[in-house]
């Protein structure tokens, strides 16, 4: 009886969604495998092996677990000149804010941590808070390199955010809903990317910028400013700030999949009856594909100069996303989507 209650509690959307899928456990699993995959991809393109010797039989897959354990037991050094409380708090805040938007993202109809009709703007708004914590890190570490990185992050943030929101908005305009669930439901037959590829492109690029992945890892800028805002972090705190970027990428990819790739379709029709999140497997696979492509870009690109990135944000992405908005309007006007 108790067991059944616990299982029912666990399987209820309010626990299962934030904790297991798409929440913490999945995020952690993605974190651990994605970084490994990124390194493996880079290695394959660069004609080498990548992480291997942690477990040779499975291609070194537990590498990140080993790294995480090492981070865990490494000494955390707080610089003498740093502002201690924000310095220690900021990474924790970054990780929490990074993962928080997940509660609004449904993985099946009616299956989300918090089920509201404005899930799209809510999730985007929460993830937009993340840069503030990075600037906080930069400022509190009190180091020339971190401050330089913090300024870069601030610049980049305003460059991508408008494009990100407008391109997301163009999809909600197309489907006349601000709820991710409705948007996915309306893509049962045709995924959104086919209707509005422009919005998908701008959203994807803005998403890379927001997560600070190549070619937009400008705030981090290893070759110029050591590690940007993260320069002074060591041990588990560094693990957190490094993970936060990937978590943010995961959240944006989830939103991308729901906006453009048809979310849990087509698997949900088959498995959703059994238990709704089973249909979410399709969502998971698609998200993972998006993530894999995003990290694969590391092999192809270097780092944009900051003014180029800003120019891409302001002069390319924003006009293109507005064009995408108009495209959506046109599509609605023609009556492609009901």
């Amino acid at each position: 009886m108790w067991l059944e209650l616990i299982i029912r509690l666990l399987l209820s959307p309010y626990i299962f969604a934030p904790l297991i899928y798409p929440g913490l456990v999945t995020a952690l699993a993605i974190l651990l495998t994605l970084i490994w995959l990124e390194r493996k991809f880079a290695a394959k393109v660069q004609l080498r092996y990548g992480p291997l010797y942690v477990a040779k039989q499975i291609g070194g897959a537990p590498q990140l677990l080993a790294d995480a354990i090492r981070f865990m037991f490494q000494e955390v050094i707080v610089p003498r000149n740093a502002d201690k409380v924000p310095f220690l708090l900021a990474p924790v805040l970054a990780m929490s804010l990074g993962i928080l938007p997940i509660v609004f993202i449904p993985v099946a109809p009616g299956f989300a941590g918090i089920l509201i009709n404005f899930s799209l703007p809510a999730a985007l708004a929460l993830s937009a808070l993340m840069p503030i914590t990075i600037i906080l890190m930069a400022w509190s570490a009190n180091n020339k390199f971190t401050i330089h990185g913090g300024v870069r992050e601030a610049f980049i943030t305003i460059a991508y955010e408008i494009a990100l929101f407008v391109s997301a908005l163009s999809m909600s305009m197309l489907y006349s809903s601000l709820s991710l669930q409705d948007i996915v439901e309306k893509q049962a037959l045709v995924p959104g990317i086919l209707l509005n590829p422009l919005a998908a492109l701008t959203f994807f690029v803005a998403m890379l910028m927001s997560a600070g992945k190549l070619p937009f890892d400008i705030a981090e800028g290893e070759q110029e400013i050591v590690a940007g805002p993260y320069t002074e972090y060591t041990g588990i705190l560094y693990g957190l700030v490094m993970g936060a970027g990937y978590v943010q990428l995961y959240v944006s990819s989830l939103i991308f999949t729901e906006l453009f790739l048809g979310g849990w379709h087509p698997l949900f029709e088959a498995l959703g009856e059994l238990y709704p999140p089973l249909g979410g497997i399709a969502l998971f696979l698609k998200t993972y594909l998006v993530l894999a492509f995003a990290v694969f870009l590391r092999c192809v690109y270097g780092r944009y100069r900051i003014d180029h990135a800003l120019r891409i944000g302001w002069r390319r992405l924003i006009p293109l996303s507005i064009l995408a908005l108009l495209l959506s309007l046109g599509l609605r006007f023609v009556g492609v989507v009901v």
């Binding site: 991809f41 290695a43 394959k44 393109v45 660069q46 004609l47 080498r48 092996y49 694969f296 870009l297 092999c299 192809v300 690109y301 390319r316």
Partner: protein, 157 residues
């Protein structure tokens, strides 16, 4: 127009990356498991053949790093060479100037030492065979072949 052409160039770069992601051959040699068999003539660890040595000390004179020096042997009139591998730069000058081929370059290069003192080889230790520790552990030998498609190919012997 330039936007389109730059978009196409982006696609080409990504395409090249994808090509290598799916169709490529790694060039890494996983060393302790496999060992590249070096061709004769490689300038590796130096071996001294005591019986051929005429104690002319030319090797010590030409050594640019003062790695080979002459040692007085108690009870012997002649001096004999010994080598200090802390200093040796493997230029092979000593081998090339030796008039009787008493010094010889081996193709062993991957020797490890536990202590710095172990790297000094006075004459009594200098006359010895060198064995690669990887081969001793049972590593496979590979031969380097050139290949038009992949550059270097490492093939088992």
């Amino acid at each position: 127009m330039s936007l389109l052409s730059s978009f196409l160039e982006h696609l080409e770069a990504i395409g090249t990356g994808l090509k290598y992601l799916f169709f490529s051959k790694r060039m890494t040699v996983r060393y302790p498991e496999v060992v590249i068999e070096l061709r004769p003539g490689y300038r590796g660890m130096i071996r001294w053949h005591k019986e051929r040595c005429i104690c002319c000390s030319m090797c010590a004179r030409i050594c640019p790093a003062a790695a080979i020096r002459m040692y007085r042997i108690p009870g012997e009139k002649k001096m004999r060479p010994g080598i200090n591998y802390q200093r040796c730069i493997f230029c092979g000058f000593c081998v090339d100037i030796c008039p009787t081929d008493a010094l010889e370059c081996t193709t062993t290069h991957d020797v490890a030492f536990e202590k710095l003192e172990d790297m000094v080889y006075p004459p009594d230790k200098f006359d010895r065979e060198w064995v690669s520790p990887a081969l001793e552990e049972g590593a496979r030998k590979l031969k380097v072949e050139f290949d038009e498609e992949w550059g270097l190919k490492h093939v088992p012997e």
